[in-house]
């Protein structure tokens, strides 16, 4: 049994890569993932990628931030240490809105960022998980899980036919840990 874990088809041209995806799908070869240096229109639909749920996380963080700040201001200015400001009620809701709004925005943005970092294993100081470093520069890479997808030569030929300039049989999933 071969020690190949992942087969990478490296393309110079995004159109040829899209063509490669079509070919693989026509031959019922499941695609693990595709890496490109820039966003490509319509690729999510082609790969059947589900809509991101990041928005829901952002909404939840926003609600949380707003609630925390509103409760905090309430505790401080109404319950713990009421101050008479210009004869207003202690519980003067309009005054609370700006800071509640700011915290909602702050928590939404930070929460969304950290959720994204968490979900994509991306974090400052952490080695990024990259299957081919050139996919961040000028190459378009289709990754296929080698396990169960045999024979490997057929996949190689399919990729070559589609216009892959290079097909790699990697023994390791991520090259960036070296």
């Amino acid at each position: 049994m071969s020690s190949t874990k992942y087969i990478l088809g490296v393309f110079d041209d995004p159109d040829e890569m899209m063509h490669g995806i079509d070919k693989l799908q026509k031959n019922s070869v499941p695609i693990y993932d595709v890496y490109t240096p820039m966003p490509i229109h319509g690729i999510e639909a082609k790969l059947n990628i589900k809509d991101s749920r990041l928005g829901y996380a952002a909404f939840m963080f926003g609600c949380l931030g707003g609630t925390i700040m509103f409760s905090m201001v309430y505790y401080m200015l109404v319950h713990d240490w009421p101050i008479n400001i210009g004869g207003k009620n202690f519980f003067a809701i309009p005054d609370f809105i700006p800071v509640t709004f700011e915290w909602t925005v702050l928590w939404t943005s930070f929460g969304m960022t950290f959720t994204f970092f968490f979900a994509s294993h991306l974090f400052p100081g952490r080695t990024p998980r990259v299957m081919d470093l050139r996919a961040t520069d000028d190459k378009f890479v289709i990754a296929i899980n080698a396990k169960g997808n045999i024979p490997h030569e057929d996949i190689t030929n399919l990729l070559k036919e589609a216009g892959a300039t290079e097909v790699k049989h990697n023994d390791r999933k991520y090259v960036s840990y070296e």
């Binding site: 928005g55 909404f59 004869g87 005054d95 809105i97 700006p98």
Partner: protein, 422 residues
């Protein structure tokens, strides 16, 4: 996706839409005449001002939309830009009706009982600054605050400013539509570059004059009060309501078979605008409210005191719910921006909602509270609204039929718009 579209089809304004818009105009006329006949002249005038202002706002929004698209070199909107162009072409009609209503409003007078219980002769509109003798120290109508503002706030200057502002917007609207039509014959980048330059010039002029226009037309109804946020507040209302009208028109026309190339991606882009600027409207509305609430100075809080009377308080809250909470909760998710039905209903809600917004700006300072909050909006309000809705539909759709094609066929970004995908 269809790759070949037929752009030669011209829009024909016939059938039900035309009949109904004419019926609406008749309803409006009946409401206006009825209002005057039944002794509700001041209320009718206030409604006429409201609806001519709204009518002009939507048409101005059409020009502003075109100008923003050109100045940003945006491509996605190229295939539906004829609709805002048609709105812009109607602005002269809206401007003339607005100026006529304003001139009639401060020229015609009636006898009313003022806040101090005295019988005075006051004009129907702008009764605080346009009444006879307010700037004359020997008159019993003398108002020192208004006299101090008379150098700016006088009838001649007011009309001159209105004519200059609206006239310049009309010219820009006409030019942008003309360039786009000329582009259809000539092709190339010549007219696109011209449109770009004109749009930039228009945006500068519009940005500086539209707050003053709002101060003059609406804020001066309560001339002793002022707010520097008012101009942007009105701008936000104009932009949201105008976008809603553009989107609604587009959906309706698509439903009867025009604009078949417009997809849910275009809806998504338009609705993002509507959503974003509904939040902006709330931001400006609240900024104005919070500053006045916090400073708590009587000459400023009187504005909200009037809107806090039991006759207006429910409408005050409904205004916030309709124009802020509804778009916030309904239009936030991506999916709802892409469903024609949802967007259509939201547009109708926002069009009515911003009518209520203008209502809250105008009525408490002109007609004032009547009997109960429910009767504040009566047959005159609804009739005039329907009438101007019909007038707008009739004039704007007639303007749309004048275009040889519903698409600027040689717009440099047309292909980008036809393949708009987000």
């Amino acid at each position: 996706m269809k790759t070949h579209n037929n752009f030669d089809g011209q829009y024909e304004f016939v059938g039900k839409a035309k009949t109904w818009s004419l019926i609406c105009i008749v309803i409006g006329l009946v409401a206006i005449l009825g209002g005057f006949a039944l002794g509700q002249a001041e209320r009718t005038f206030a409604n006429l001002l409201l609806m001519t202002y709204y009518f002009a706002a939507v048409c101005m929004c059409g020009i502003f939309f075109c100008a923003v698209q050109y100045a940003a070199q945006a491509g996605w909107s190229a295939s539906m830009i004829r609709i805002p162009q048609a709105f812009g072409k109607v602005l002269p009609i809206a401007a003339v009706t607005l100026i006529l209503v304003v001139i009639a409003g401060f020229s015609l007078t009636h006898t009313v009982t003022n806040e101090e219980g005295k019988q005075v002769v006051a004009p129907y509109l702008y009764k605080i600054w346009a009444a006879v003798g307010v700037t004359d120290p020997h008159s019993e109508n003398y108002n020192a605050i208004i006299a101090g503002k008379a150098g700016y706030m006088n009838k001649v200057g007011f009309v001159i400013r209105l004519i200059c502002f609206l006239g310049s917007y009309c010219i820009f609207g006409r030019l942008l539509a003309k360039y786009s039509e000329a582009e259809d014959d000539l092709g190339g980048m010549f007219y696109y570059k011209k449109s770009f330059n004109m749009s930039c010039l228009f945006l500068v002029i519009f940005g500086f004059t539209t707050p003053i226009y709002a101060f003059d037309t609406i804020m001066s109804l309560e001339a002793e009060w002022f707010s520097t946020m008012f101009g942007w507040y009105n701008f936000a209302a104009m932009w949201v309501s105008g976008l809603s009208v553009i989107t609604l028109t587009l959906i309706r026309l698509k439903r009867i078979g025009y604009f078949e190339w417009v997809s849910e991606d275009h809806m998504h882009s338009l609705t993002k605008f509507i959503f974003g600027f509904s939040i902006f409207w709330t931001y400006v509305w609240f900024a104005q409210f919070l500053l006045i609430y916090y400073a708590n100075m009587p000459e400023e809080t009187v504005y909200f005191f009037k809107r806090w009377e039991p006759e207006f308080k429910p409408w005050f809250w409904i205004n916030i719910v309709v124009n802020f909470l509804t778009p916030l909760l309904v239009l936030m998710s991506r999916d709802s921006k892409r469903i024609y039905r949802t967007v259509e209903i939201m547009c109708i809600i926002l069009i009515v909602g911003h009518w209520l917004d203008y209502f809250m700006m105008i009525m408490p300072g002109t007609v004032g509270p009547t009997s109960s909050w429910l009767t504040e909006i009566g047959p005159i309000e609804i009739g005039v609204f329907v009438g101007f809705g019909g007038l707008f539909t009739f004039t704007a759709m007639t303007a749309l039929t004048k275009f040889k094609s519903l698409v600027p066929k040689k717009h440099p970004f047309l292909q980008e718009s036809l393949h708009h995908h987000i």
